[in-house]
Symmetry: C2
Subunit: 626 residues, 2 copies
Amino acid sequence: MNTILSSSEATANLASASDTQKITRTPLPASKKAYVPSPNDPSIRVPMREISLTDGTAVTLYDTSGPYTDETVEIDVNKGIADVRSQWVLERNDTEQYQGREVQPQDNGHFDQDRGFQYYNDDLQRTPRRAIAGKNVSQMHYARKGIITKEMEYIAVRENQAREALSNEFTTDERNSRLKGNPLGANLQPITPEFVRKEVAEGRAIIPANINHTELEPMIIGRNFLVKINGNIGNSALRSSIEEEVEKLVWSIRWGGDTIMDLSTGKNIHSTRDYIVRNSPVPVGTVPIYQALEKVKGVAEDLTWEIFRDTLIEQAEQGVDYFTIHAGVRLHHIPMTVDRVTGIVSRGGSIMAKWCIAHHQESFLYTHFEEICHIMKAYDVSFSLGDGLRPGSLADANDEAQFAELITLGELTKIAWKHDVQTMIEGPGHVPMHMIKENMDMQLEHCHEAPFYTLGPLTTDIAPGYDHITSGIGAAIIGWYGCAMLCYVTPKEHLGLPNKDDVKQGIMAYKIAAHAADIAKGHPGARYRDDLLSKARFEFRWVDQFNLGLDPDTAREYHDETLPKDAAKVAHFCSMCGPKFCSMKISQEVRDYSADLKSAEIEAGMAKKSAEFAAAGAQIYVAQSE
Amino acid sequence: MNTILSSSEATANLASASDTQKITRTPLPASKKAYVPSPNDPSIRVPMREISLTDGTAVTLYDTSGPYTDETVEIDVNKGIADVRSQWVLERNDTEQYQGREVQPQDNGHFDQDRGFQYYNDDLQRTPRRAIAGKNVSQMHYARKGIITKEMEYIAVRENQAREALSNEFTTDERNSRLKGNPLGANLQPITPEFVRKEVAEGRAIIPANINHTELEPMIIGRNFLVKINGNIGNSALRSSIEEEVEKLVWSIRWGGDTIMDLSTGKNIHSTRDYIVRNSPVPVGTVPIYQALEKVKGVAEDLTWEIFRDTLIEQAEQGVDYFTIHAGVRLHHIPMTVDRVTGIVSRGGSIMAKWCIAHHQESFLYTHFEEICHIMKAYDVSFSLGDGLRPGSLADANDEAQFAELITLGELTKIAWKHDVQTMIEGPGHVPMHMIKENMDMQLEHCHEAPFYTLGPLTTDIAPGYDHITSGIGAAIIGWYGCAMLCYVTPKEHLGLPNKDDVKQGIMAYKIAAHAADIAKGHPGARYRDDLLSKARFEFRWVDQFNLGLDPDTAREYHDETLPKDAAKVAHFCSMCGPKFCSMKISQEVRDYSADLKSAEIEAGMAKKSAEFAAAGAQIYVAQSE
């Protein structure tokens, strides 16, 4: 069982060179990568996306897309993307390189020695690092010691999106006071490195950043920062290949995914993860129990602490940044699910419930929780404490089982923090709108303001095929209420595995939700992009309207369906009203007129003005040919 | 200009017989039309949709799709659908038939006598009725006299969705109290005819039901009823044909559109409307100023009260059920829009603003408002008081111009009610989440609880191509807060005219929003469909899950992409986890076990139970081949 294939045997199944060609590499329209240096340390260069507008200006945006949108960077997915932070890790002088755990055939779901690994790739192997005995390498540990890490410096620049360089032409006192947002308790302000440190130290934010994921562009998850979104990818027992999964990763981050979770099941989980982590500039999360289950051939009751522990180390060595661990499913919670309409729908939750019942014991995740913390802090893997008892339908929302588990997760958070292990809390699921607030309030109270990370929630169950929308509604609302990260749901939820287009639809719905939440909270500068786009729309700068949007390609395509000619892209009208009449056009005329129009004059009803306006009026329409 | 073509000349351009074949006529999967009689008057038969489930039961749902989904009904779009309510109108004995206004070439945008009408169709002409001099035929007028009309009886049956016939197997005291909803001031209860009457009498609800639209299946719009959605259709100067528009109507109502607005511009507006009204079982709304503008060749300042009045009568005679009238745009409001980022974006609003400025006068819609009321009550056309100054971007949300107009609309509502004219109020537009509540509160206060009818609102401006989602979020929220009808936005908003698929995407997003709102409010029985679907999902009744959903076709298609075989539709697993492990399956096992599991036993840790569970456990997985 311990035999490893020689690399020559293994490479027969390598992802081929052509796979790299399948990876989307073009920048977004009119966009280029801008590297913004930290004022405190110019060696820290934060990638942002700079969009050139047709009026000669440019705007800089937060950018999750990594080196894939930088045309000057060469990428070979069989080797992995460039290192960003190994020097930072080394400089801290608290880690050691060591001969990692030997990879085994069953890590990839192979139990027959003759079958070997598919896709095993020497070029993706790294010698792992871990904390020197007695050391703790978590960002929370440094933060609590008062140390501002390079990751924190990086994040301070990144979260501010270079906004201070922009003069806000939309600002008026009236508008600022009217639109200021309702943060509902969030502490929103321009982000400094010290603020980042403090938030991490106090547990309100996490920086998922395994020391073995050196390709990472650091980011932060917390209620006082921009709302983040996660995209789930991963092959399954039934379909999909490693190549597709790497492209799904690239595709997710191209459209704005802040983290990705690799939820692979079935064969080749280990090697798929090699590809994903080595090629990911965003944090990678996993649910280690999925792989552990494969190692016991799918028989939940055969799981053991030892197998699970070994899987944690395997994945920590590869560089996984956060682990979903369903340690909150306790034995006495299980009967609370009996009268539910949809029982236990979390895969991890049901695995653990099955194990608990079979063994009539508390789960090894719960009983070995402190040992898990020891592993986490040796690599700086963050907890994503899983909600194994989340509701699977509106009927089960906010019930006894759900909240009992949430309270347990709060207790576990305290234990994790005792070890300076970064922790966020997973949440539902399916919750009607009027019950979302209770979820957020309960989480803040019982989990001590650790970041909340929810799946949706779906606000109705009647729309299979459209659950990116049913859940996008709930996600926007809970994001406003204080949820730090929103796990996307694709249109295929409940029906099948998402393809590339489904991934994009899910990401789009969730970028909308996250941004709508940032605006409602009043995150400084969140509305700037809206105002720029609205101004471009009003001024008929069609190309700018497309390019400032979340999805320039689709916007352009929709426009061209009805007004395909190039001339139409500079036309002062659109297909809704046609060339003869246009409310935007007339409205600009109104503005010109009104500039001269004093209230007193209106009341006096000056005949002269009236005649002037009438004379000028006949000229305001612009025909298509003009 | 007054010459009408002979019908033989006109029929050369008739919609051809094949057009009827383009109309979607199949029932939804596993569905048939059920006509539910009123207990008070069995001659009133309310069409509902009955879905047969695979367990032998059936469920009855509210149905907007009209006779098109009743296979036993023959339909020829060149003749119009069957009469529903002319007998009810006649029985009231307060109307007269009269020789209506002569249709003129410019009604269809033709100014050259030689061109004639396209699509003019004798078979769609009806001799109009109007109130006998001195009578008022509005539903509000009857309601205030204490009369329960047939329309009100019909609506009482319709709104209750035959729910009382269903035993709610999901009901538990715990669940009912936990999920009861938060109506935020709405008065939710089982609907009786007397309740319908009272709501209409007091102005909190309207029944758009022109006496000349006898094909109508009556429905109600009000905060204490199910939240409704509107779909906009209509040809424009640039594209689309009458045939496409009728199919868009049928398509909109098939997926759940409660009303439609015909926003046609350009040529053939009158004849397009003939087709739409005569073939529509749902209320039809229009913006009469659009057609009036065509009659003056697009020159806003050439509009006159006389042309507008003539257009109102023309459309009232055809049977339009509600008119959007932008009478709230007052001269002194216009300078309030000068500092906006996007000025005036309502087409009607900008037309009137242009007119006001050109003439330096209050608009004829405002100065002639009482005369408009006289027309409305002679046909029972309802007001939809237009928000001509709605914000066109987040930056302009809730500003002085918007709320000044809203207050004017409240004053006009009082005038309309003096004439017993039914009235609803249109609302924005573009509003960030945290400012939506203020919109609803202001509207309720200043418009005296007249129904609110909003476009979205869009909660961010950065996603052209996805505005069904940016606005679906706002629509769900404002629906919960008390908005009575949600005007859909399609993915093409701001970019082009919607095609059939866009219409469906818009309707779907808005059905989701409306239903999520009904659930949040706690509308009695709203959650029943969710629970049925969730139960079907949990029990792996795939076909029931598809058929209970808003869009069975898409759900089935998505499922079949990953699990195409027929066998998979009865499989006790899905493509997310595959056949080997399934959380739904394991959860059912947990339920079986837990039924025997007493808390005391858990605490005692009974070894015997544990052994039993372990022995049984190995059998719980169902392989695909089984």
